[in-house]
Amino acid sequence: MDLSVTSREESGRTVVEVSGEIDVYTAPTLRERLNELVGAGHHHLVVDMEGVEFLDSTGLGVLVGGLKRVRSHDGSLHLVCQREKILKVFRITGLTKVFPIHDTVAEAIAASAAADEANATS
């Protein structure tokens, strides 16, 4: 299955909907798309992975790279994922401590906005 990446604006966040398989072959497509978005000034990303069937270490590396990139612009990257087999990949590698992972896009947007507000007032 090919990888599909689409993005839209929602409540001041850029929601990146990813579906298909993110692996050593397809991950560069996701990397390019994330780089384009950050380069175009989209620094608060919500990556919706509910349609992702498979994720490997190359894909994880791309997400970590995206996180570093948005953070260098004081941005954020939240993930949406409830699929056990994808969550397992984050757990094995300890990346559940690195990425905020939410059940729904709405929750991710709310958490992202709340963190932003807390930063603004601190």
Binding site: D23, V24, S57, V64
Partner: protein, 140 residues
């Protein structure tokens, strides 16, 4: 004798094919969905690592050789880096993929009860099929 032997040119696009073949053999051997997920992850990493190392050593001339054999309740998978004649390459240069700690963590972490063992020119992964009784235990 391996049940299934798949040899492919070291290109990233073939890793998915290798995952599909491995999971298909494991499913046929009676492995459940949870273990199939582990097999899919670990084989994906093992093959991505072999593709990267073989490509670094031989360009596109070499081959990655994945051998699967199922016996009773276990599945043995050996993933080898090979030269153009199919002979295992004992030494290959390190690459970004083979040095990636996330890749090693996933391959090791998903290998289930057994840790990956080093085979000459590659890696060997083994899974023992969980019995129905073990499945019941997990639900408690």
């Amino acid at each position: 004798m391996p049940t299934v032997d798949l040899r492919f040119t070291p290109l990233p696009e073939h890793v998915r094919t290798a995952r599909l073949v491995a999971v298909s053999v494991a499913r046929r051997a009676g492995f459940g969905e949870e273990q199939l997920d582990e097999i899919r992850i670990a084989i994906g990493e093992a093959c991505a690592r072999a593709v990267s190392a073989t490509e670094a050593a031989t360009g596109r001339a070499g081959l990655v050789d994945m051998r699967l054999s199922d016996d009773e309740d276990r599945l043995d998978v050996t993933v080898l880096r090979c030269d153009e004649d199919g002979a295992p390459l004992a030494e290959t240069p390190p690459t970004a993929t083979t040095e990636d700690p996330l890749s090693l963590a996933l391959m090791t972490g998903a290998a289930g009860s057994s840790s990956p063992a080093t085979a000459p020119g590659g890696v060997r992964l083994t899974w023992v099929r969980e019995t129905a009784a073990a499945g019941v235990d997990q639900q408690v």
